[in-house]
Amino acid sequence: MTNFIIRRLIQNFITLIALSFICFSILALMPGDPVDLMMSANPKITTDDVARLKALYGLDQPIYMRYYNWMAQVVQGDLGYSRTYKVPVTEIIGPRLLNTFFLLTGALLLAIIVAIPLGVVAAVKSGSKLDYYINLMAFAGISIPSFWLALILIIVFSLNLGWFPAGGTETIGVNLTGFEYFLDRLKYMMLPILSLTIIQMGIFARYARSAMLETLKADYVRTARSKGISRIPVIMKHAFRNALIPIVTVIAINFSFIFSGAIITETIFSYQGVGKLVYDAILANDFNVAMVSFMISVGMVLFMSLVADLLYGFLDPRISYN
């Protein structure tokens, strides 16, 4: 078990390093560094200014040297300095990470709470009208473009009905604490969560249904039924527990999809999260921020898949790690 975790961690670490180099090179190869940009915006900047600024930013060195310098810095715990905001990267990323964490957890929880029972019900009542509609809804969820959904949610719920704000993270200028603060945050998170979860709901419901169907057909369930154990306990105790294994995998794999979705959602709703930061930083060539936030998001996803593997073992004692 410990061996397995260590091996997976090492693997993840290597993947992370390799990706960081690839990403670093691509970002560095993108034409137009910040100094060039500054220069074209301001005709009064002279050639001397350019040389001076490039040396200050370290842009006059070859890529591998810059990567080495960057790595050395990161290892020492210095994540660097944002070119866009002109403050240390940690200062920006900290609160944003927390915001994204709230958003993702919220979305994931909602999707699980709604979708899995639906999937189970659909499987149990397989072939019925209810099953048919749940299936239809699941397909609709998978197929809807999330950004379009987000726009429509804004129109309906914030412009038309006025239930939720059209964008933002929290009410500015008021100091709320405790439960009120929580409610305020929830109000701003509602629409982003909704637009994020609908796709996940579709995926989860479908997997839950098919996993459940599979286990319901299994011999041990039939045996349990024939022993005279009533329907509900069989479903819950035997079938559902076994169906959980593929469901958990799907949730973990989907974590990266949710994260990708968060980029678009956060941008549309102006929600201050890491996803939006990654997008903005890459487009603005804010090197350090782009690298760090990208690495964090990749790390998060890799970590989730490790967690999923561990849960897997917990749920299914037949699997051994070696």
Partner: protein
Amino acid sequence: MRKLILLIQAVFLMQLSMNTAMAKSTNKPTNKILKIGVAQEFENLNPLIMTMLTTTYLYKMANRTLVSMDHKGNWVPQIVKELPSLKNKKAVLKKGGKHGKYIVAHWEILENAKWGDGTPVTGHDVKFAWETAMLDTVTIGEKEVYTQITKIDIDEKNPKKFSFTYEKAKWDFSQLGTFYILPKHLEASVVKKHGKEPSGYEKNSKYTTDATNPGLYNGPYRIKEIKLGSHVELVPNKYFYGEKPKIQKIILRLISDTGTMEANLRSGEIDMISKIGLTFDQALVFEKKAKKNNWPYLAKFKPGLVYEHIDFNLRNEFLKDINVRKALALSVDRDKLTQALFSGRQQKAIHNVAPIDPWYTDNPKEIVLYKHSKRKARKLLKAAGWKINKEDGFRYKNGKRLSFQLMTTSGNRTREQVQSYLQNQWKKIGVEITIKNEPARVYFGETVHKAKYPAMAMYAWISSPENTPRATFHSKSIPSKKNNYSGQNSGGWKNKTVDDLIDKMDLEFNAKRRAEIASKILYHYTNEVPVYPLYYRSDISIIPKNLKGHKMTGTQFSATNTVEDWDLQ
């Protein structure tokens, strides 16, 4: 499936019904709080290293500069008593120095100008800012405004009085709009400690580490809270030297998606949209809608100094021919373009000088005007040997198609619309336009900057009134590897007469004669069409109807320059 369609129809109906629905009855904003939406990021307010448009907008609420420009385009003193000039004897022309002549100008800071912690603003702060800006370790962009000054002397008896000694004599020496002042009493220790490390000062500056310190601000407001990428909260600065601000709290909120900006306005999340907000198209449609439904908002448009144009790359084998350029210029109806796309809210450009500039001329005796006529354009092209091929409708000469690549920034809706319009117009005279757009970073940083576009590049620049066009017209300003790509004459226009006129202009101290030289330059510019002028951009703001005292400027100085006059009645 049918149920699904019904569901979709329901959503659609809701969407349509919203169209007729009134704006949510939000409370009129009062002087208690004003929430402003901005669409672009901002940074901390350290003036030496700030580069973003939103930051300069924000900066003027919290800090003041020596001089500024009013909404009519005149230079005015801001935190100083008056502008030094040869006329009022506050500036003296002296002989000597490297360039033969130089200027000494005497300034005096307003008596009651104080930083937000009560410390008076003095010449020491000015000198400290100048010294800091000159440090090699500070990543300041535009250094020239500081380097043109060789010495600063402070009056020993009255530290509010100081004098600048300029390197050379220049008629525009007092136009120091981007000369910023730093609070020496707070920042001196930072510079002392970190000034020698690369970027050491800016990383440890109080503007970064302690941004809410009132002592950093001398304007009508001070920063109470700043969350990068989210919002800024400003409250009145009780030590402000001028009139007391009327609005008790201003919140600047970043909503980077311009599509949802309007939703935020109408659901009351923000009360107004700054000039860095809606796209032109959105503003136009919003205006129409607001009028029709009597919403409590006013859409304000102010013609500005931003000059949108297309640079022709004169190294291109077809664009070399002046007749081709003239035909291109003749065949687009720019009146129609500005009328249809901008409802006339942005003006057609006939050359690089904006109408609010004293140098502006539209006299057909002085310059060449191109009245739209596709027939004339076709004749010109025919005469130049370009024959229409019936099969594809494009013109050919020696087997080569008359085809150009038109480049611009991607993601700029208005430019993309204009681009499509031009493509369509030029197709009608048999000219093929292929489109390639790049993100601003690549486009400005590489393509335009190094003149790498094959034929045409559409972009804009802002120039303050009475600006010598040396960087854009002079043949020495053609960017090349040799001059390390400095200069913005990226099309590569070479005209000996224009070069001479520009050199002559620098030495001309008489305003009227300067204007005459300018119109001579404009003749050559319009006659040879090295650049195709499109339109001057306008600034747009959406403000609540009850906001008084908000003056749009159209220049690089924002309406926040007079934020203390803003009043929500």
